[in-house]
Symmetry: C2
Subunit: 656 residues, 2 copies
Amino acid sequence: MATSTTKTGQPLDRAAIDSVLRRRLFYTPSFEIYGGERGLFDYGPPGCALQANIVDLWRKHFVLEEDMLEVDCTMLTPEAVLKTSGHVDKFADWMCKDPKSGEIFRADHLVEQVLEARLKADKDARGVKVEVDEAKEAKKKKKISQKAEKLDDALVQEYEETLAKIDNYGGDELGELIKKYNIKGPTSGAELDPPKAFNLMFQTQIGPSADKPNGYLRPETAQGQFLNFQKLLEFNQQSMPFASASIGKSFRNEISPRSGLLRVREFLMAEIEHFVDPEGGKKHPRFEEVKNTKLTLLNRKTQLSGSTKCDEVTIGDAVASGLVDNETLGYFIARIQDFLLKIGVDKTKLRFRQHMANEMAHYAADCWDAELFTTYGWIECVGCADRSAYDLTVHKEKTGAALVVRETRAEPLVVEEFQIDLNRKKLGPKFRADAKAVESAVDALSQDLREKLSLELEKSGKIEVPTPGVGSGTTELEKDLIKIEKRKRTEHIREYTPNVIEPSFGIGRILYSMMEHVFWIREGDGSRGVLSFPPAVAPTKVLLVPLSSHPDFKPHTKKLTHRLRRVGVSNKVDDSSASIGKRYSRNDELGTPFGITIDFQTVKDNTVTLRDRDSTKQVRASEDEIIDAVKSLVDGEETWDDIAKRLPAFEGQEVE
Amino acid sequence: MATSTTKTGQPLDRAAIDSVLRRRLFYTPSFEIYGGERGLFDYGPPGCALQANIVDLWRKHFVLEEDMLEVDCTMLTPEAVLKTSGHVDKFADWMCKDPKSGEIFRADHLVEQVLEARLKADKDARGVKVEVDEAKEAKKKKKISQKAEKLDDALVQEYEETLAKIDNYGGDELGELIKKYNIKGPTSGAELDPPKAFNLMFQTQIGPSADKPNGYLRPETAQGQFLNFQKLLEFNQQSMPFASASIGKSFRNEISPRSGLLRVREFLMAEIEHFVDPEGGKKHPRFEEVKNTKLTLLNRKTQLSGSTKCDEVTIGDAVASGLVDNETLGYFIARIQDFLLKIGVDKTKLRFRQHMANEMAHYAADCWDAELFTTYGWIECVGCADRSAYDLTVHKEKTGAALVVRETRAEPLVVEEFQIDLNRKKLGPKFRADAKAVESAVDALSQDLREKLSLELEKSGKIEVPTPGVGSGTTELEKDLIKIEKRKRTEHIREYTPNVIEPSFGIGRILYSMMEHVFWIREGDGSRGVLSFPPAVAPTKVLLVPLSSHPDFKPHTKKLTHRLRRVGVSNKVDDSSASIGKRYSRNDELGTPFGITIDFQTVKDNTVTLRDRDSTKQVRASEDEIIDAVKSLVDGEETWDDIAKRLPAFEGQEVE
């Protein structure tokens, strides 16, 4: 699929949707009157309501449905925490500066763009008709074009191989590629400075006494959840498995923000950390409920072969075949899809892509991204990773905090092992200052070594024990000092570090992609944009439209507003002097699913008309019936078709 | 009122409530396993739910009720914006460093504490029984105490005057006071470094190309709303007045965070900017609805006289008498009180304090703080300020953006004024390069000067016009070049900069103070804490308690959970093996207002018991009736007394 189309099959015109979204203040560049600041956007009233509704649905779908423990942790984070998590050292992109123009590029993006431009120029020269991947083209903000120029066949192949591996290069390698392929500053033609790592975290100084930056804005909400693991487990009455969740802003100082809401420096995330016992195959108690969910999966093997052909499989089959690593991961993948479809994502524009082995964090066991297709191409909107025990382990090792689960074993575990007894009375006088070190070294001996040493001790009456840092590094112990025996030990408690399955949602990306999915143009006089939000997420559910400013309509409008609000249905009144058609079309752009017209008939008999945004069909009934119908539509209990069947149609006015 | 008491009249024990709040994970110090970071706290599950419920209620009470335009702006803010707003230069506290110990103090707090300690020591020496203001004492984290020591009468008076004005001193003055009163480092006894301004904003670097910090984390959500004024007015179809609103985190790098959740470095704010025409007395169309609201007001005059005696007046009277500046300000003060009472604030611990003239920002017309009484004293939780046209004006002047309202006048305005005609044909050749400057200087002439010059011109046929930067600074113009006439001009459009009334809520402070207000100890075996949250804000509404783990109870529990969730009532199951009484008392600490017990009777006849947290009384009825009752209680349609009257009491078990 190279270009994006609307649900109605029209080619999706990004300029058209952007114009609607900005005009209707879904979002707007921040600080515009100050010239703007790249990568920062404000949400206006409809965007803000849409976001709040999506977050609300997310909370119901995940947090409430599964009794997750929601936490709200601070964004300001001390350096030590992010040092341990690896972000201080590794959370960086490679940037390249053009010393002449002062421009800064993301090194991998630059190499990619230049090589792609050259390959295209080569095809032009060879007279090959290029099937343009518009979505991919659109991704390139700074389009680097080049005149037709033929390349050696070998070089073409080299370029293609380089591009396939572009995500894997480090800074030095990118620098070599830039030299080797003679890549220069695109505007200046100057030689570029070597790539430099640029950490993507915003640094700041917490408190008045620090003399240099000592903290960061968090790049993800996950760390706060890990640090509170002990307290959360305690709150959950020591019961496993359980999940925590967090909704909040995170920050990434992108080198080159672009693609509107898709690559920004401050963004809303919703993250779940599901803590699970690593033993027993990471089963999930509710997997049965989702196992028949059909998914579109793009697996690792297919990608390696250079294809993007997806499989349509049930999550049950995907887990059974081992394609998806375990039930818990599979459960969340299915639940993520449910959520995305609920808020309006087009299923034909949703796929789950498995991370390549080299793309995953080194500790991850498996990872699948929910990608949504947009005019910018396939966009990663939700990550679903098995982070294994990595995070809890590093924080535990750094701080000594017991980020573990201690469970009483149902059956005590009997372990047979080599145990060592030291004769401390003799050890002390013999080794003096070194006695403690010797003791520690002995304690640290592995079971294998203990077995070997026990035989040796039996045979020769003395052994050489490795004691790093003491004497020559080994110490001789005779059998009056040490005894090694195979004995049984009964373990009643099992201690383990849970693994973490992490579904991580970029709300802004989901919101934008979904808006593209529900956008279409109503043909007719003048083409009018429509945002067909599902009622549950629509910023406003009902528009109240009095026919005119006639004073007789006022009490009806007021009563309806009040009654709708009481049943929890958000509504707005448009009593401007514009024609009813104009007022409705304004609200089609705002995505308001239903409209109620108050007219002279209303004054006579308390009936009103109800209009459906998508079909522009109307019904007419009493205020009571219409309010019931709206409530039922918004709660998802009935569809418009249900309503149209049971309430009389109304064809009095043209209200497209 | 020197000490705080619970609703039941018990002295409020801060240690007891703190213990409950931390144990039940309402909040917890952030990064505790890393040694913690002062002034940063995480909210655990109940705190997070409580916060979400308060925010939800806020949104309904203000945003939905009045069709406010909610926006979500970024926290990252470029320096230029905060330079204009005055924050870069003025948003600072004075800090003092002890060069010996390295400790850093807020200079005004230090002077205050030392002088207060000396005054107390003086009273001790004079044998005066000091009525200790425990709340005030508690405020002092580092309590500076001193042995009894008598002071000169004159000095006592001087100290007292200094303390009364402590908020007004600048850095130099604080430095002088420290020298004059010989104030030393409290732990080291060393001479302190002179006070230095410490800007309270967190600084950071946006983008990869800046070579020094070029932005800040916002200290308030207001600026984003001001910058979007034009777009919001347009969204509102140019109609005035209107309000914008924003809910989000703000940041202040406190020199010395203290008092738990009350003085933190990262906090949730909810702010309203109500834009109003400065002409016509800032009336409010809905003032009638609130005018009989009774308030506890502490006015400026009373404070000046050294008293804190409040008046109980209606907001109608307060505005009529001029005590509160205008209707719009008064309207919001009343609405703020409504909101606070709705979420559980104790009316006897709420007052509105008017800012002293010198305490207000220089541009503010009037300002009232809603203060809540806690064990830390009276705490400012909501500010309600008339910010006049200050913010829109400074941003307009800086950027040239038209942050104004342009309204067609109902009646065109006829202005009589002196107008000037220049003969450009002659002006150009005569003044050449200076012609433009001369023209601008003439355009800039005031009406007064024009009148004077017109007389002069008539008399002598030429005039001297001030033309800064041209020639000697004045230029002679003869009557062939210039004509000055009194003429009438009709203005159809009125352009004005709106004034802003700003109610600004510190959600964390409100949340903490409210928790103190609803906390009490249930007497009985062992004293058990109870948090009597109103059902609307309680983290969980219903606890489901199966009598035991008997399998017959499971389907009932499951069905109830499901049914309650469907009617939107959050609930939790506690099927642990603890006694019913223990399970309920755990949930009293979590503030869960209602409990449903499933027992053997339930299995027989589908009846369950419903328990009221505050009275521990129970009723028994069918599942249907109990679900209806709970829904009605949570929605605030009935009280427990109503329910107890219409459903049969149950006294089967002791479930305190």
